[in-house]
Amino acid sequence: MANIISDETIEYVGILAKLELSDEEKEAAKKDMADMLDYIDKLNELDTDGVEPMSHVFSMDNVFREDVVTNGDDRSAILQNAPGEKDGMFKAPRTVE
């Protein structure tokens, strides 16, 4: 089964992925994604009825600890990497007028 990725799908996935693709990139993405999905469709050859999806190989339990702060105040070290900083906070573009 050949997958065909529509313009709408690429637009939609671009929104989900927060990526702005050029027209050229969009065309390439349509082809790449269709090729990959054709390839991934191979998994449908396997009967997985009744198989539990395995997200982790070992049985994972929640790891709990006391709610005690163990790290120090490293605000200024963290903010040194921020593209925008003001008054000890991350500076983001205006979101509400």
């Binding site: 996935v13 927060k18 993405a29 396997l46 997200s55 982790h56 983001a92």
Partner: protein, 488 residues
């Protein structure tokens, strides 16, 4: 024997014995780096002053008798997706091109506690997505055995640095083969430990359920020594496992008596280069001569590992890489109109083509309407693959096969056809899906003079069996005087 030819453990012994200092070792490596780096480009960042200063501190502690580990004073290179406090950590991506972490990864703390001296950060495929180190935003790393060829990837800088003597050992990370395949292409030893053995704290995430940090070394004994230092139970990584059997060097026994070795027929089918096949089967014969019981078997499901892997890894990547938003760290686009425009432009300009390809695919397979058909289906197939390995390990201690279908391809040949490149991961990828330990050790050269690696796969937590088999093989080859794939 020159200083640079020493193994990490060999160097540590000489430092301990007072025959050489850590500073001299660092200076020798830096000199070698200065000579070779232009041709090879193993590093993104080289911290000359920091390394010499650190070596001086470490040397004092060694002389004072307060530091005496197996790696005390030994210069190491760290893959650039592992955070180092105060040292640039880029993931070989423009989007993290200026990122200086305020903290170090747990693996880096472990190295430092053992007295290893960090030289710098090695080049890699951007965000570890690739098999050639060509998707790096900071240039291509070349294979030290032949600079017209790739070193493999994604830990290509680490593998090339070890092979070229630009460090005594290195850290890499392995999500689908990213330690083992470059180790194979560069003729060094590389191990991906059992999932959960080495803390992922401070490893910049690609596919969190698959990622694992591990050593790239000059020989098997170094691999055991480094793994001993790295393995720890870390509360900062909720998937970290508390293990007691981490005295890995105890497994270095030069015979394979009683080891049951299985050779999966499915790993020797179409697409496998004939010279690689011959070298790998020859390695199996050596283990047999050393006392192992070797037989062929059918592993099954091998061809389903790649589609399952790319579904799961891309899904996890699309989620993990959401954090790169131009606000907290890294690159921010200079021109934008509002918050969403800033997000989109920052990410579109900051990520390279392969990373965008995987984020797009991952976003799609997780999206409403496709989640069950693709993502859940892949997780079910993962369960089947794990079961196939469980059955195999009831009969065998070690599964032996090739690491990659070919030796290192030429530069610029792989990226043209992504699916073909992904197919090169066929022998390594299922190990990550099943959480298993596996290693690559050099087992010869092809007629072009490029190294070939043999892969040993073990059941979860059975690194010692791998190390024993690997050591037995390595010692046998040394005795035979024919050890090929030797370091440069």
């Amino acid at each position: 024997m020159g200083l640079l030819e020493l193994t990490a453990a060999g160097l540590a012994e000489k430092i301990k014995a007072g025959e050489v200092t850590s500073v001299q070792a660092v200076e020798a490596v830096l000199e070698n780096i200065a000579e070779k780096e232009e041709a090879l480009h193993c590093y993104v960042t080289i911290d000359k002053e920091g390394a010499i200063k650190k070596a001086e501190e470490v040397q004092k502690k060694i002389e004072a008798g307060t530091l005496s580990g197996a790696l005390a004073g030994v210069p190491v290179a760290v893959k650039d997706n592992i955070c180092t406090a105060g040292m640039l950590t880029t993931c070989s991506s423009k989007i993290l091109g200026n990122f200086v972490p305020p903290f170090s990864a747990q693996a880096v703390h472990a190295l430092e506690a053992a007295g290893a001296v960090i030289l710098g950060k090695t080049n890699m495929d951007e965000f570890a997505m690739g098999s050639t180190t060509e998707t790096s935003a900071f240039g291509v790393t070349k294979n030290p055995h032949n600079t017209a060829h790739v070193p493999g990837g994604s830990s290509g800088g680490s593998a090339a640095a070890v092979a070229a003597g630009e460090c005594f050992f290195a850290l890499g990370s392995d999500t689908g083969g990213s330690i083992r395949q470059p180790a194979s292409f560069c003729g060094v030893v590389g191990m991906k430990p059992t999932y959960g053995t080495v803390s992922r704290y401070g490893l910049i995430a690609y596919g969190s359920s698959l990622d694992q940090i591990g050593p790239l070394t000059k020989d098997v004994a170094d691999c055991a020594a480094v793994l001993e230092v790295l393995a720890s139970h870390d509360l900062k990584d909720s998937t970290s496992v508390a293990r007691k059997d981490t005295d890995f060097s105890a497994a270095l026994i030069p015979d394979a008596a009683g080891l049951r070795v299985g050779i999966p027929r499915d790993y020797f089918g179409e697409g496998l280069d004939s010279e690689v096949r011959a070298a790998v089967l020859e390695a199996a014969k050596v283990l047999q001569e050393k006392g192992a019981a070797v037989e062929e078997f059918d592993l099954s499901l091998v061809e389903y590992a790649i589609p399952a892997y790319y579904t799961i890894a891309s899904a996890e990547a699309s989620s993990n890489l959401e954090r790169f938003d131009g606000i907290k760290y890294g690159y921010r686009t200079p021109d934008f109109d509002g918050l969403h425009s800033m997000y989109k432009k920052t990410r579109s300009e900051g990520f390279g083509a392969e990373v965008k390809r995987r984020i797009m695919l991952g976003s799609f397979v997780l999206s409403s309407g496709y989640y069950d058909a693709y993502y859940l289906k892949a997780l079910k197939v993962k369960a089947l693959i794990k079961k196939a390995f469980d059955e195999a390990f009831q009969k065998y201690d070690v599964i032996l096969g090739p690491v990659a279908p070919t030796t290192a391809p030429k530069l610029a040949e792989s990226l043209k056809d992504p699916i073909k490149m992904y197919l090169g991961d066929i022998y390594t990828i299922s190990v990550n899906l099943a959480g298993l330990p596996a290693m690559s050790i050099p087992c010869g050269m092809d007629s072009k003079g490029l190294p070939i690696g043999v892969q040993l796969i073990g059941d979860c937590f059975q690194e010692k069996k791998l190390l024993r088999a690997a050591y037995a093989y390595e010692q046998a080859e040394k005795e035979g005087g024919s050890r090929q794939g030797l370091l440069l």
